[in-house]
Symmetry: C2
Subunit: 235 residues, 2 copies
């Protein structure tokens, strides 16, 4: 694989900008709100169970999270939670949607330089409007040739995207923080993948086993390591 011809796909949330920290902060306030009904561990466990149950109807993103949070609060309070408390929950959701976009360290400079030599894509899942808004606020939108927002990042979603842009899997490097959504499906298709772990990972995104990757899988600490990685691949 020649580094010059590589197309590089980037996940967005927790790869280019902070996201899980915003959810963690909201989780903490949510636990406080429900503290007189249940302990933190029960709140977390029940909310996660509601989110998993609602993943099929709601999909990913802040709006589905908020609907699940309201539902869980009613359940955990045995319907005693007040309308004013629910209103505060809805406000918390709108705060999340209005949150400034906070780029990860090194992202701005690294992408500006990579965009000169490579075709860059964003491939992200979640809510269409919320992801578009974050990209618009990020200040780095101009570096990406295409932006693909999909409802699920599985093998078939990557096949569709790579075909649409006439990219052979062996010419594709995906960069992201989620083994499940960014790494496993791309390795399975014969592409390369660089995993940049984020300090927090949503329980849903964790996986234990990687497909065979024969030198196509890389573990990096920051997107700053991508240019030297490309140089190494080109040799």
């Amino acid at each position: 694989m020649s580094s010059r011809e590589l197309v590089i796909g980037f996940d967005a949330d927790d790869t280019l900008w902070h996201n899980e920290t915003i959810f963690e902060n909201v989780h903490a306030r949510y636990r406080d709100m429900l503290a007189h009904y249940h302990d933190a561990a029960t709140v977390d466990r029940t909310l996660f169970a509601t989110e998993m149950r609602n993943l099929e109807p709601y999909g990913y993103g802040v709006k589905g999270f908020m609907l699940s949070a309201v539902e869980t609060a009613i359940e955990l309070s045995a319907s005693k939670i007040s309308a004013d408390e629910i209103r505060r929950l809805l406000e918390l959701g709108r705060e999340m949607l209005a949150h400034p976009v906070d780029l990860l360290d090194g992202v701005a400079e690294t992408l500006a330089s990579l965009a000169i030599t490579h075709r860059l894509l964003i491939i992200t899942k979640g809510d269409l409007r919320d992801q578009e808004r974050k990209l618009a606020k990020s200040g780095i939108a101009q570096h990406f040739r295409h932006v693909e927002i999909v409802s699920e990042k599985n093998e078939s979603a990557y096949v569709t995207i790579l075909r649409r842009h006439s990219i052979a899997p062996e010419d594709f490097l995906m960069v992201g923080n989620s083994l499940k959504s960014d790494i496993v499906p791309v390795l399975a298709l014969g592409g390369a993948a660089a995993h940049v772990p984020y300090p927090l990972t949503w329980a849903y995104e964790q996986v234990d086993v990687l497909p065979p990757s024969e030198g196509r899988f890389f573990e990096i600490k920051s997107v700053r390591e991508i240019p030297p990685l490309l140089a190494r691949l080109a040799r």
Copy 2:
């Protein structure tokens, strides 16, 4: 413009399948739920005002509608609405998401025949997951070469889509029930547009003025009128 080369774009909700009727049914149950607080007109007006205020953060679709419906119920009940009533509202939302897809009269046959002679696209706005699910349930997905789900159907969205598929505006016919989202932007770009009114129109989608269209605008009663329209255009 030659009919053979025309690419035909279809809106989905209320053009291919019923949607506003589902919302109307939920509106009726919502008015009943709040009837001991306010009259129907006040409920409708306040809900619409909340939806408009939340359009920027939430975008289109059932999840944003549900969040706005919960918020409005709290407001209209002066925070007296119970957690159980809010839970029933959330259930109403999940029923909407699970609702069967009910094709409009003539859609199945007309699309099956148009797909033989023309490239067909779906161009729809709203929630990514919900629109994908409806298309999968519709039984007509195989007739469409591409499906574009966007957060807003304005001129710039159509420019992006037509460019992506290398379609010249003069070779494009858009079919849809919304003058605002399906007709006005396409006429403005120099494309053709066929308006198929649906018995119900969401207040937000109403417009008063059409751009100059010099024989490129058609008012039809059903998608069944598209094949004869194409024959007429080809003459």
